[in-house]
């Protein structure tokens, strides 16, 4: 294990920002700290960087007690949401900053120039050496910030909502590219995000935080298909709730039978949850009886909104090519869950 965090806790004016956090990260792993705002993810990242200090707990990085090291000795590459570039410096000088500040151990001029060229190539900004941050787009600035963080040859790369301030298209592009850079450098990387899609898409493993505690620490696949709690289920995707009769591993609603994942010792009538894509719509009187209140087009999918007899809203998405074109808003339908979760 490269990084081991044990029993980390931090109180802010009476409320627990972090509550007994423990997890470990393997060398070269790409980890996402995911959670709603106020879940403590940024606090945790800042502690790793040394910009915040826990009340209790330990952080161990490759046998070093990180908490005993000041920020500048931790050799951390940190990327901020606001880019935090030095406005009065050119791109090249921004990137070289960490090397220039080394005093007596400052590398030779040619070495610094070689690093700048290499990193600009890595972040695909060749020819931008002489530009100032004000002359760059948001995505370009964040790439410069990453190059600057990589220049000091860090042992750990930390990113605090790196794409938070960018628009959707650039976000998606930079996301893939960040993963590419990670795979190329092999750096242990931890990044904070509140966007579950970004975390699921990018990270090897995800630390999902809820109110300062770890709700689940798993791979994307595990988090999506085996959520440990209702919070995890709700946070990583949308779903619906319904009452079903549970018997063994099978649930049934009005003649529609479907398996229940992560079943424990429940039986009888229970509330189950199912994903909006884990259901079919039929015009038979089966499953959850509901009335369609809206049909919306999306890319490749159609999204149906319905309301059941109890007045609960349901949302189902179905691939466009499987769409039964006879369905109209106002129709009475049966919603057939295919797979459900019980918490």
């Amino acid at each position: 294990m490269a990084l081991t965090i044990n029993n980390l806790s931090k109180q802010f004016a009476g409320f627990a920002a972090l509550n007994d956090i423990s997890f470990s990260v393997k060398e070269g792993e790409f980890i996402a700290l995911l959670g709603p705002s106020g879940s403590g993810k940024t606090t945790l990242l800042r502690m790793l960087a040394g910009l915040d200090y826990p009340d209790k707990g330990t952080i161990d990085f490759k046998g070093q007690n990180y908490l005993s090291l000041p920020v500048k000795e931790r050799k951390i590459g940190m990327v901020f949401q606001s880019y935090a570039l030095f406005r009065h410096m050119t791109v090249a000088k921004n990137i070289a900053f960490g090397l220039e500040m080394r005093g007596k151990n400052k590398p030779k001029r040619e070495e610094i120039n070689e690093t700048i060229t290499r990193l600009l190539k890595l972040v695909q900004l060749e020819g931008f050496e002489k530009r100032y941050p004000a002359q760059l787009s948001g995505g370009q600035r964040q790439r410069v910030a990453l190059a600057r963080a990589l220049a000091i040859n860090p042992s750990l790369l930390l990113l605090d909502e790196p794409f938070g301030a960018l628009d959707a298209m650039v976000r998606k592009e930079l996301r893939r590219w960040l993963r590419h850079i990670h795979d190329e450098t092999g750096l242990t990387t931890i990044f904070v995000t509140h966007d579950q899609e970004e975390a699921l898409d990018l990270a090897d493993r995800i630390v999902l935080l809820e109110g300062g505690k770890i709700a689940q620490y798993d791979t994307a696949d595990k988090i999506i298909n085996h959520p440990k709690s209702e919070f995890v289920f709700d946070f990583v995707g949308s779903g619906n709730a319904a009452d079903a009769d549970i018997k063994g591993e099978i649930a049934s609603i009005n003649g529609c039978e479907f398996p229940v994942v992560n079943l424990t010792n429940f039986s009888g009538r229970q509330k189950v949850k199912f994903r909006n894509y884990d259901a079919l719509i039929s015009n038979e009187e089966k499953g959850i009886k509901a009335q369609l209140t809206g049909i919306f087009a999306s890319t490749g999918f159609l999204r149906f909104e319905a309301i059941d007899n109890g007045g609960h809203h349901l949302e189902i998405i179905i691939p466009e090519r499987n769409f039964d074109h006879s369905l109209k808003v106002g129709d009475r339908v049966g919603i057939l869950p295919q797979k459900a979760y019980l918490f």
């Binding site: 951390i76 570039l85 406005r87 009065h88 050119t90 000091i152």
Partner: protein
């Protein structure tokens, strides 16, 4: 159905299509600008330039390099420069504290910074001489050690520090608060020491504001009259400031002499502002 817009000849865009600005009429607003700058600034300055030639150019030079005038200009110049330099450090420190820290009474301290701006200068003058005079609190303390603050250049210097402080604080403060704490944190994670962070990250960022605050404080110090004359004691060759000499000359009906001193001061102020502009341009080129 939306109205069709044709590009045919004779098409006049409806009014809503024409660009308007909040303040109407380029010609009118420019006219008012030029008129005001002329009447309020340029014409009086020109009038000043016309004055001192009654005794010819040599008369002007004689007045300017008259021992008493020259001493007064020198005192004014040195005291303002020194006061502005001290304010440079103290002002940055105060702005820093006000931007980066929260403490009880912060708003009050912030409001008090403007006092030298708001107070009538004569009131400041009386207040300052009251405490710095040999029988005042602070003046009395130093008097025991044989140091005279009031009625000496030190008194002038203190009055000018008082007057110049808000110029530096108020020009640096907004720039500092715009500089996110994350920028400093970034420098720290990159291995910079606090001193390196200040020198390489913060100082360059506030430099233009600092320069303009400095030159404003300096120029204001050169011309400051009300708050200085009470504490200065106005001893010729020792603690007499240039603006006071203008008043003295006017009282002696020596209008040409007064204007000559005025032009001397004008040249110094102009040189300061010019130097400032050059440095600012230098920094602008560096992308600040």
């Amino acid at each position: 159905m939306p109205a069709e817009i044709s590009s045919q000849d004779g098409f006049i865009a409806p009014k809503a299509f024409r660009r308007t600005r909040v303040i109407p009429g380029f010609t009118m607003s420019l006219g008012i600008t030029i008129f005001f700058v002329s009447v309020i600034v340029i014409i009086p300055l020109l009038a000043l330039l016309m004055r001192p030639w009654e005794n010819g150019f040599s008369g002007f030079i004689d007045t300017l390099f008259d021992k008493r005038v020259f001493a007064a200009l020198k005192i004014s110049f040195l005291c303002s420069l020194l006061a502005a330099l001290v304010n440079l450090f103290v002002g940055v420190l105060i702005a820093w504290v006000l931007v980066r820290y929260d403490f009880p009474g912060k708003k009050l301290v912030d409001a008090f910074i403007d006092m030298p701006f708001a107070l009538p200068t004569a009131v400041s003058g009386i207040a300052l001489s009251a405490i710095y005079a040999p029988n005042g609190w602070i003046g009395g303390f130093f008097d025991d050690f044989g140091i005279k603050i009031a009625y000496s250049p030190i008194g002038i210097f203190i009055a000018l520090v008082f007057i110049g402080l808000p110029f530096i604080v108020r020009s640096v403060q907004p720039v500092l608060s715009e500089l996110e704490a994350e920028v400093e944190e970034a420098a720290e994670t990159l291995g910079a020491s606090p001193l390196q962070t200040f020198n390489h990250v913060i100082l360059p960022a506030i430099m233009p504001a600092l320069l303009s605050g400095f030159s404003l404080a300096f120029a204001r110090g050169m011309g400051e009259y009300g708050s200085v004359i009470f504490i200065a004691g106005n001893i010729p060759y020792v603690s007499e400031i240039a603006p006071l000499l203008i008043v003295v000359k006017l009282e002696e009906y020596d209008y040409a002499g007064a204007a000559s001193v005025g032009i001397g001061m004008l040249m110094i102020s102009f040189a300061i502002l010019f130097a400032l502009n050059l440095t600012q341009r230098y920094f602008a080129k560096k992308g600040l």
